[in-house]
Amino acid sequence: MDKTDESKSTTARLTGAEILWATLEGEGIREVFGYPGGAILPAYDALRKFPIRHILVRHEQGAAHMADGYARASGKVGVAIATSGPGATNLVTGIATAMMDSIPMLCITGQVSSKALGSDAFQEVDITGITLPITKHNYVVTRAEDVAPAIREALRVAVSGRPGPVLVDITKDAQQGAASFDFAAAAPAPYRPHPMLRSESESILKSAELIRAAKRPVILAGHGVIQSNAREQVLALAERLQIPIATTLLGLGGMPATHPLQLGMMGMHGEAWVNHAIQQSDLLIACGMRFDDRVTGTLTTYAPNAKKIHIEIDPAEINKNVKVDVALIGDLAEMLEVLLPHLAPISGESAWPREVNAMKGECAVRDIQNLPDTGHLYAAHVMHDLWHATGGKAIVATDVGQHQMWEAQYYKHEEPRSLITSGGLGTMGFALPSGIGAKVACPEKEVWVIAGDGGFQMTACELSTIAQENIDINIAIVNNGYLGMVRQWQEFFYDKNYESSPILSPDFVKLAEAHGIPGATVRTRAEGVAAVKAARERKGPFLINFLVEKEDSVYPMIPAGSALHEMIRRPGNNPLIETAQDV
C-alpha cells in the first residue's frame, strides 16, 4: 500500500466483537435485546465502548419478541442477541413469528469456535440449519473480517422487498480475532429486486378497467398497507371511487378505523357485514395481503362472483390460495401511484357503500357502554373502555386468543403501527415482550399490553425486565380462568369437553408487586374504568387484572371449513346481543 492510499484509508484494527457493535452503530442501531452466555461473551465484553443500549431479557424468546415489537412499532429493524446452543434455540419461536408476519429483524447468535464446529461441543447447535426455513436468510461467520459485511448484508436483506428475519451466527473466534474495519467498504451489494416483479401497463389498464366496471367493489387492506406506508394511496383509491375497505388483523391501523368507508376486520372473527360485503362483492382489490385461510374461509365458496386484483410485493403469493384475475406485483404504494391516474373520481354517492352500511343494522352502533349494567364484566367492556380512555391512540400489544379478537373488534385503531399482534404464527406469550419492544422503540407513545391469563404466564418472567429497565407500559390481563379460545372451540366443536382448558393463575397483582410493579384487580366495569385512569395517570408500569365473564365466546365465528358467510352468531339472550340479521 503506498502512502496516498494509506492516508485515504479509514480502516482501523478492531476485534470481531468490536466490529459487530461498530457496524450496528454505523447502521443506526441504538437498542438491542439480548441475553449473554459463553459463546457471545466476547461481544458483550466490547459492548460498553459503544452507544448502544442493551435490554437484558429473562428468556431469549422474549428478546426475539421484543425485537419484533420494536420493528412493528417503529418500522426499523429490531435486533435480538443470544448465545449459542439453548440461547439460540430459545429464539426460534420469535423468529418464526417474525417470519410469518414479514417483520424485519436481525438475530445475532454466538457460536462455538470455528475449530470446534461439528464436534458437538458444549452449547453447540446448528442454529443456521434450524432456522433455515424460518428466516429470509442466515449466515455463519467464522472470521473477524467477515463480520461487518455479513451484518450489513443481513440488515439489507431484512428490510428489502418483503421484509423478514435474518440470523447471523458468529463463532467465538470470529469475535475474538482482529481485522481491519472499514464501514463503507463493508457495504452490501445493491438490492436486487425479485425478477418476477411485474407492473406492465397492460395489467395496470386492466385493473383500472375492472375497477371502473365494478358495481360492488371491496378493498382488502392488509399488513402491506402499513409496511409500504400506503395509507394515503389506499385512501385515495377508496375515496375516489367510494369503495368500502375491509381490513385483515395485521392491517388494522393501516386505515383510520373511524373513516366512513372503513368497514372493520374481515375473516374468522370479522364483523358479519364485512364478510357479507366480501361474499357479495363483484371485485376484490387485495392490497398487501395474502388471502390467509383465516380471512377466506373455504376457498371454493370465497367471494364467488368477484373478480380479483392482487397488489402484492411477493410474487410467490400470487395465485397461492386464491386465483386472481390481475396481479400487480411490486410495492403497494408505488403500484397505486401508477394506477390512480387511470381512475377518475366518481361523482355523486354510490349505492354500494350505502348497501353495506345497511347490512350493519344495529350492530354498527352497538354502543355497549349504553347497555344496562348487569354487573357482569365482559372483555368487550374492557376493550371498549380502554379504547375510549386512550382515544384509540395507544400502541396496543396483544397476545393470541379470545382477547386478541375482542381487541381487534372493539379497540378502534386510528394509526398505523399501533396494533402489535402475532397474526400468522399465533404465538401465545407475544404480548408482554413485544409491548416492551414497542415502548423501547417509541418511548413517547402510550403502550398497553393486553394478554389473556394463559398467554401472559408464558412470558410473565419479562415483568423483571420491565422492573430492571424501568419500562413504562401498562398491562391489562383479561382473566377468565380458561384458555379461552380453546374453551370456545371445545364448547362449539367438542361437546363442551373442557379438557385441560381451565387454568389456574397466580394472583397477578401480587406477582406484579413482587417485581415492584403496582396493580389492581377489577371485577366491575366501574372499577375497570377507574383502574385504567389510575394506570394512565401514574408514571411507570401498572398491571390490571380484569376478572371477566368466564365462559364468553368471540362472535361472529366462521367454523373451520365453512364459507365466509356461514358465521356462528351471538345467541340472542346475551346482553351483548348482535342485532344485525344474516343477509
Partner: protein, 193 residues
C-alpha cells in the same frame, strides 16, 4: 406433472440445502437434481426436476428467487431444449453372455467402459426414456443388473433461447409451460426406434 428448472446459484456451502429445503417446505418431491460448475466462476448450475401440480411452477420459481443465493431461475417447462442424462450400469456377464449385451449397447448407442471376468459396465447418455429402455431390455433378457448410477436430467435450451435472452426480451416465462408434452420426444433424434 414434471417441472424442470435450471437455476444459477452462488457456489457457496449450504446453497444446495437451501434449495432442497425449499422443495421440502412446499411439500414437492424432487425427482432429480444435478449440480455442477457453470460457465461463470463462482456460479453453479442446477437442473431440478420436480413432480408437482401443473399450476405449481410459478410458485416454485417465485419461491426459488426468494433465496438469497439464487441468481437466476429458468422454468424451462416443455420448451425446446436438449435433455440429457448419464447412467452407468453394471451388469453381471460371463464371457458367454457378453456378446448379446454388446449388441444391446450398440443399438442404444451406449458404450462398454469396463470389463471384468464376471461383469461389465455400460455408459449411456440420453433422455430418461432411452436409459429406462436399456434397463428394461436388460431386465427382460434376464441379465442381472448389479448397480445403476444415474445423474438425473440436465437441460439446456436450444439455440439463442437462453433464459437470459428471454429475460431480456421480457418474454412471459409461463408460455413454455403450455407446450404439449410430445415435443420433448420429438426433440430426441437419437432415440432408438
Amino acid at each position: 406433472m414434471l417441472h424442470t428448472f435450471v437455476a444459477l446459484v452462488e457456489d457457496k456451502p449450504g446453497v444446495l440445502t437451501r434449495v432442497a429445503s425449499l422443495f421440502r417446505r412446499l411439500n414437492v418431491n424432487i425427482v432429480s437434481l444435478t449440480v455442477g460448475r457453470s460457465e461463470k466462476p463462482g456460479v453453479s448450475r442446477m437442473t431440478i426436476v420436480s413432480d408437482a401440480s401443473p399450476t405449481a411452477g410459478h410458485r416454485i420459481m417465485a419461491s426459488l428467487y426468494k433465496l438469497e443465493n439464487i441468481l437466476q431461475v429458468d422454468n424451462v417447462g416443455l420448451a425446446s431444449c436438449v435433455v440429457r442424462e448419464l447412467a452407468l450400469i453394471k451388469v453381471a456377464a460371463t464371457p458367454k453372455t457378453r456378446s448379446h449385451i454388446f449388441e444391446l449397447a450398440e443399438v442404444f448407442r451406449a458404450r462398454i467402459v469396463d470389463l471384468a471376468p464376471e461383469s461389465l459396465m455400460i455408459e449411456i447418455t440420453g433422455v430418461e426414456s432411452k436409459i429406462e429402455g436399456l434397463i428394461q431390455v436388460l431386465n427382460e433378457s434376464e441379465d442381472r443388473i448389479l448397480e445403476v448410477s444415474r445423474t438425473g436430467r440436465m437441460v439446456m435450451r436450444r439455440g439463442q433461447h437462453t433464459s437470459r435472452v428471454l429475460d431480456a426480451m421480457r418474454a412471459p416465462t409461463t408460455e413454455a409451460e403450455e407446450l404439449p408434452e410430445e415435443e420433448i420426444a420429438e426433440e430426441e433424434a437419437d432415440l432408438p426406434q
